[in-house]
Symmetry: C2
Subunit: 292 residues, 2 copies
Amino acid sequence: MQLLDGRAVSDQIKKEIAGEVLRIREAGGKIPHLAAVLVGHDGGSETYVRSKVRTCEELGFKSSLIRYEEDVTEEELLACVDRLNKEADIDGFIVQLPLPKHISEQKIIESIDYRKDVDGFHPINVGRMSIGLPCFVSATPAGILELFRRYGIETRGKHCVVLGRSNIVGKPVAMLMMQKSEPGNSTVTVCHSYSANLKEICLSADIIIVALGVPEFLKADMVKEGAVVVDVGTTRTPGKTRNGSKLTGDVKFDEVSPKCSYITPVPGGVGPMTIVSLMRNTLLAGKKSIYE
Amino acid sequence: MQLLDGRAVSDQIKKEIAGEVLRIREAGGKIPHLAAVLVGHDGGSETYVRSKVRTCEELGFKSSLIRYEEDVTEEELLACVDRLNKEADIDGFIVQLPLPKHISEQKIIESIDYRKDVDGFHPINVGRMSIGLPCFVSATPAGILELFRRYGIETRGKHCVVLGRSNIVGKPVAMLMMQKSEPGNSTVTVCHSYSANLKEICLSADIIIVALGVPEFLKADMVKEGAVVVDVGTTRTPGKTRNGSKLTGDVKFDEVSPKCSYITPVPGGVGPMTIVSLMRNTLLAGKKSIYE
C-alpha cells in the first residue's frame, strides 16, 4: 500500500507555481491576483479562506479578502461580484460557500464572470468541462486527477466508482474520469443514496472516489484487493487536536488501507490538492491561458 | 416484451404541442418560430432538416430554412448565426451538423445565443443540465427520458448502463439519468471503447442505452432477462426500401428483444422522440419558459 501524499505533491506543485510567478515578476509580467469573498464567521469557511490567502502569499500571488457580515443582502453581494468582475487587476475570485440561506448561491455563482471563475462552478465552465473544452476545472476534481497524474496511476479502461453526485465533486470528477484523455478513459459508475448493490459495485471497482460526507462509510469488505481509494470526505468530529476536533474521512482507513494499492489519507490527501488546484487556476487566469 | 413506440408517443406529444400552439394563436400570442441552417447537400442532413421543417408545419410553428453551399466560409456562417441571434421573431434555431471540415463546429455552437440554442449544445445549456438547472436539454437525451416518463418506467435506484460517451447522447443522457429527479436517480455507468468487461457490465444493467453507432453491437448474451433497452443507433445500410437503404440500430433486435421488458425499435423509437423534443424546446423558447 502506498499513500497518495497530497501534502507532498501539493508542496511540489507550489514550488513549481512559485517559480513561475518569480519568472513572471522578473519579466515584468502580471502577478496573479486572487480575491476571496467571505460572508459571516463560519469556522470551516474561515479556515478555508485563511488557508487560501496564506497559500497566495507563499506563492507570491496578490490576494484580497473581502468580508461581509451574515446579514449582507443578496443585492450587496451581487454588487460586490460585479465590482470584482470589472476590477482589471483581479484575475480570479471565489465566493466562499456556503452562503446564508437568504442568498441564492446559484444566482451568485452565475453572476461571476466565467473568465474569473477559478472555482469552476459557473455553468459555462461546467459545460465546457463536460464537452472536453479548455476551462477552469473545479478544484477538488482537478486535484484528484493531478494526484493520479503525479503518481502515474493508470486510469484507462479501469472501472472507477464515484460515491456521491454533488455538483462540486461527484458529478465533475465522474465527467473527468470518463473523458477521452489521460487521466481519464475510465469506465465510470456514479452511485448515490438510491443506489442498490453498493457493496457489489464497489467490489468491482479498480478506483473508488468517495465523496459522501459520511464518516468511515467505505469499509474493507467493499474494497477489492489492489484498488485505488480516494477519500474526499472531511467531517469534523470531536478529537484530541489543537482545537478539540479532528477531520474524519469517508473511508475507514485502518481496515481499508491494507487492501489498497494506493490510498489518500485524511487529512493530507485531497485537501491540500484542492487548494493548490485553485492556485493553479488563478495562475492560468493571470496568464490568460484559458480565456482571453 | 413491450415496444417503446417512439412514433406513437411522439404523435401524442405533437397533438399536445399543436393544441398549445392553437391556444397561443387564439390568444394572439407569439407563434413559435424555428430556424434551421443547412450547409451543403449531405443526404442524411437533408432528410433530418426536411423532417424538422415538416414537423414545424404540422404543429403550426413558423419555420425558416437557410441554406448555404458546401464552400461557405466560417465567417459567413458566424454572420448568419449573429443575424439569427438578433432576429426577434426567431425563438430558436439549429445549425445542422456535421459541418464541412473547414468550419469549426464548436465555434459555431458557442456563437449561438444560449437562449435560442434549442439543440442544447451550447456549454451554458450543457453545464446547467449537469448542475440540474432549467435549460434546453439536447433532443435525443430528452426524448429518451420522455419515453421513460410516458411508459412509467421506473428508473430510481436502477442500474443504467450507457454505451458511448458522445457529447450529443452518451454524456448528457448519463448526466440526466443520475440527476436527483424522476426519471433519473439511477446508478449510472458510462462505457466506451476502452471499457473492459463490457459484457459483464451490461449483464448487470436494468436499463441499457446504446449510442455507439455500431450496427447490432448489443447481442442477447449481453442482456439480462427483463432489462429495458434503448437503441440510439441509426446506421444506414443497404436494404430493400424506397431509397435502397435501411436504418440499422446498435441492438441485434431479433435476438435481444425477447429478453427485454421494454425495447425501442429502429426506426420508430428514439428518432421520432428526438424531433419532437426539439419542437418542445422551440415551444419553450417561444414562451420564454426557460430564459427571459
